[in-house]
Subunit: 366 residues, 2 copies
Amino acid sequence: MLGQFQIPKGDEIRVNSDSLKDVVKQVFLKCGVPDDQSEIGSDVLVSTDLRGVDTHGVSNMLRIYVKDYQSGKLNPVPNFKIIKDNLTTLNIDGDNGLGIMQGPYAMNMAIKKAKKTGVGIVTLFNSGHIGAVGHHAMIAADKRMVGICLTAGGTLVLPTFAKETRTGTNPISLAAPSEKYPYFLFDAAMSSIAGNKVRLVARNGTKLSPGSIGDDQGNPIMDSVGVDVSEDFIHIPPLLPLGGNRDQGSHKGYGLSLFVEILCTILSGNVPNMVDPNGNLCHFFAAFNIEAFTDYNNFILNMDQMLETLLQTPSIADSERVIYPGVIEYENELDRIENGIPLHKEVVDWFDNISKTMSVDRLKIF
Amino acid sequence: MLGQFQIPKGDEIRVNSDSLKDVVKQVFLKCGVPDDQSEIGSDVLVSTDLRGVDTHGVSNMLRIYVKDYQSGKLNPVPNFKIIKDNLTTLNIDGDNGLGIMQGPYAMNMAIKKAKKTGVGIVTLFNSGHIGAVGHHAMIAADKRMVGICLTAGGTLVLPTFAKETRTGTNPISLAAPSEKYPYFLFDAAMSSIAGNKVRLVARNGTKLSPGSIGDDQGNPIMDSVGVDVSEDFIHIPPLLPLGGNRDQGSHKGYGLSLFVEILCTILSGNVPNMVDPNGNLCHFFAAFNIEAFTDYNNFILNMDQMLETLLQTPSIADSERVIYPGVIEYENELDRIENGIPLHKEVVDWFDNISKTMSVDRLKIF
């Protein structure tokens, strides 16, 4: 993660991951979520923090989830409705449940189908925020498959040349197993930066890179720029698609965000938020059974060879190294299990406050 | 397409598309390709030129195909070998045939499987260049499905922070049907620009945008820059991933190129060219049967609503408009069927020359 997104050292407090998981679970329980679902939800969030994906862990997301449960926007006890069920495919109505808890179920259904037919595809609509999509892709990788998870929602991003935002940040993830090196785990918004990155920069008082956001007329800002966000962290400036401006490829980032919109939203029978701002989120899950295509050991051998070639590639400077998606996540996990999860002191204050108002345990500082 | 990639008006010669298709077919026949395959190959190439994807039509590609048939690198009479065949999946060894002819077969197999199970996934390895991947995705869209086609190969692109190139340009395409507006057709390299774009700029004597290529030490060039390419148009400067440099998101373009590498190459049981430079290309095809997820008419209605919302979005300037992938391709097709396909005079010279050396018909100028 770039320096501007990292917590300034003086503002960082390390907390024990088991304690964090336990407190998060208690928060979900207090919101009326059943025990098994609260367990899954806290596991997804804290795993995300362990991997270093601070944007999508407890810091930004939990307070929004709590607010949405309290306002009735999220349903703590949803009933899945199966809309269509085929040999390879499943389309599910999530009944306004929180996506971070529904994602593992959906991916496991995709895996089950992939075991039988080679591939399983599940779409899940009318669902809440799914957290870091890579978490759900990894569930398939852990089952000797290639996993893909996408999610679409919101209207934070400017189409190329647009004056107003229309598409979501619409992240794409893919996870694949390996043996000698950390699993491949790609997870990235198809906007130049994820919406939560703007919140991190605002909290840290740093600057965004050129090509991250547009001005209030939609013109791409191609200089470094600081940002203000509203107190509730919900209103953020218009984001640019991956690529920044047209000359540097924003039409590709914009096209990829529509790629995600079609597979998540339109394929599951819904309209995107640019058409219906009140619609809920839609997700897409794919599991590819490696054995249906090639020998599993051959796949692993080839993955390891590719990853090794990349890791051994000389870099442009001694201060940088060539890695691949998943390496930093793996290294973060080793460090954070050992040394605790770094939270901004503002986040720890939020937890202190919620401990009082919700009567849940206090976080254990590391 | 940006101005620097367009043929200067003085160098443009319009040719009749039927005549072009006929001459291209004769060229393939002279290379020893059977009649039905020559027909498919010329259709794919000329359809691509009709859509305005000049990078992947006859101008750059045909001369390379001819050279590769003559050198024995491409097999004009390949025998497909089915490696694995499951309910939903198929893995095919392409026996060194040209991808532009094998792609339609592979996508039709994916469609056949999708009719039965909801989704069809086909991997095709040991194959030649596939042309514009979007062409193959469109075959599924024309059959009331969502189509995806990816291809991986070559080592033209720098991973983030790398001094040497490792990944292919690895394009992603998705096509989806609609009714009131042109079909959605996204097709883009996951490098900042496609390799063929560098050839266009060299031929046109124009400049590349910032973030398109690296210098000979791999450092991203963040200014506009002209390029030299070798006489045979094969050696080009190192390309940057979509995003340009790390600050502006090149790690996302790089990750997406590995996403494609895993689905095309590793899933089909092969190693990428960064490991084995002599390996041939690998492709990935997916067909999603819309009816397996939702009512087809509902899908079309929702697509049309999304496309309409995008087309009606106000733009940042009167000189620009907000469109979506597929609009320009549709407009080009209408224009070029009517007014002919614009070729650079250098390309027409090449055709004149090939007419003599191969004894095929001369192109009809429009």
